[in-house]
């Protein structure tokens, strides 16, 4: 069922290239030879059932989890072979939006945004830190929350602040782990629009994990269905909708 990659409108070498990646926890094989390419300016959506290993895949990409086998290249570098210093540098090019936002709850919104800058001062590009924070908060529409604590924010606002914290280093790639989970449909739609907007504004490529097929339809240039720890099938939303396979069709019900 593995369709060859056939969308010629993406040029150049992929930003992320994953070949035959395997990952298990004890006896439990989660990823079992997974493949993926992410190209420049692309929105690639991965769907899969709960517990199928989507979050684990994203964590492998930034080496929060070590892979057991296969190869994983990000921005031309093999993730497994990097030293800690090289890894930190690379990670500043790869934004990660966590499933539950993961804002530091003892810090204000300003301090949350300052945190990534403390190790990557060069990223502020000589800009005044305060104005960089303001500008980034404005791009997610929450400039007024700068002195608030995460506990004072709603779920949707937290998601936006988390996105701002990711954007502040101007990453080339952003990994979204279920950006709309736990939000009502209207807020979810706002987050989706925001993702598309910042993507235009900052020219990033995105790898988006979701359960939400509406989100997938609106956002994706291309989709991958993750089943049994492999890239079960890939293509555009329309391509996949037409696939005659019980397990693929289940996602479109």
């Amino acid at each position: 069922m593995n369709q060859p990659y056939s969308h010629g409108h993406f040029s150049g070498s992929p930003l992320i290239e994953i070949r035959g990646v395997r990952k298990s926890f004890g006896e439990h094989q989660v990823l079992n030879g997974f493949d993926l390419n992410l190209h420049e300016k692309e929105n690639l959506v991965i769907v899969g059932k709960s517990g199928s290993g989507k979050s684990v895949l994203l964590k492998c990409i930034v080496r929060l989890e070590k892979i057991d086998g296969g190869s994983l290249w990000v921005l031309g570098k093999s993730i497994a072979d990097l030293s800690q210093v090289e890894l930190d540098l690379l990670r500043s090019d790869v934004g990660f939006l966590f499933q539950g936002s993961a804002l530091y709850d003892s810090m204000t919104v300003r301090e949350n945004l300052q945190f990534p800058l403390r190790r990557h001062v060069e990223r502020s590009r000589g800009e005044n830190e305060e104005s960089l924070i303001r500008a980034t908060l404005e791009s997610v529409g929450l400039a007024h929350t700068v002195d608030m604590l995460p506990e004072e924010l709603s779920g949707g606002m937290k998601r936006r602040i988390a996105l701002a914290r990711t954007l502040i280093l101007r990453p080339k790639i952003i990994l979204y782990d279920e950006p709309t989970s736990g939000l009502d449909p209207i807020t979810a739609k706002e987050i989706i629009e925001l993702i598309l907007k910042v993507q235009q504004q900052y020219n990033t490529a995105s790898l988006i994990i979701t359960h939400d097929m509406d989100c997938a339809r609106v956002i994706s240039n291309r989709m991958i269905i993750l089943i049994d720890g492999i890239n079960y099938c890939e293509g555009t939303y329309q391509d996949l909708m037409a696939v005659d396979d019980e397990r693929v069709r289940a996602f479109f019900k």
């Binding site: 930034v62 990660f96 804002l103 530091y104 945190f115 190790r119």
Partner: protein, 257 residues
């Protein structure tokens, strides 16, 4: 396997993991970057938060200890030895241990719960991907802060405890402040302070270490956070007694010499 055997095996496995965690701390603590700002912040949080609690418990301990021993000492006609006796027992033993136990409850649980909730809400992962080493930023600073603050808090507890005992002596026995001070100080050698201070340092290390270890590796879910805080307190309190025993045995060898 039978259950007691399995429990024993788990115990040793856990002990090994904590030892490895301590080893990681000892390696990381020397290497830059040093998170000095966070260290000072933690010292402030840990010291300041516990100030009132430690002072209150120390005061009551001194007062009660004096009240309890007084009748017996009078019976033996040894009333005038009371300040010296209380001074030695508070400074050598009761002050440090009470302080450490209170801190195990207060600081150990709060570190366990804080790091535990940061773990399960992926804040620790978020730190890691943003280029800050979470072990250095969260663990090293907290362990160092408890190590530094515990001796300070114990000194406070000693002072306040002696003041409590002085109040009793003054009200019941008419002992003047100067007389009380002299009686305590004549019998307290510098050699009493050093072991007391040193063991507080280790108590602080144990409390910080266990709290951080339990929180840092908390299991997913809210149950995990609760368990982290709970086990941290129990384990830290137990370690305080074990370390105290070791410290007293070592100090005893020196007194013999």
């Amino acid at each position: 396997m039978v259950k007691p055997l399995r429990d024993l095996a788990n115990f040793f496995e856990e002990a090994g993991k904590i030892a490895r965690f301590a080893g990681r701390f000892l390696q990381a603590v020397w290497k830059p970057p040093y998170e000095l700002r966070e260290l000072f912040h933690q010292c402030y949080v840990i010291g300041y938060q516990s100030l009132f609690l430690i002072a209150l418990t120390g005061f009551i301990m001194g007062l009660v200890l004096d009240l309890q021993t007084r009748p017996t000492m009078i019976e033996f006609g040894a009333e005038s030895y009371l300040p010296a006796m209380i001074g030695i027992s508070v400074v050598r033993e009761i002050g440090p241990v009470i302080t450490a136990l209170m801190c195990a409850g207060k600081i150990g649980s709060s570190i366990g719960a804080e790091l535990g909730s940061m773990r399960v809400t992926e804040q620790i992962d978020a730190m890691e991907v943003s280029g800050t080493n979470p072990f250095k930023y969260l663990v090293v600073t907290r362990i160092l802060a408890t190590m530094l603050m515990l001796p300070v808090l114990a000194m406070l507890s000693n002072a306040v405890g002696l003041f409590g005992s002085f109040l009793v002596e003054n009200l019941k026995g008419g002992v003047t402040p100067v007389l009380y001070y002299n009686k305590v100080m004549n019998n307290l050698a510098f050699g009493d302070l050093i072991p007391s201070f040193t063991k507080c340092f280790f108590f602080g290390f144990a409390i910080g270490l266990v709290g951080c270890y339990k929180g840092y590796y908390a299991k997913k879910g809210t149950v995990g956070v609760g368990a982290a805080a709970n086990v941290a307190v129990v384990l830290a309190s137990m370690l305080v007694f074990v370390l105290d025993l070791i410290a007293v045995l070592i100090a005893d060898i020196f007194y013999e010499l």
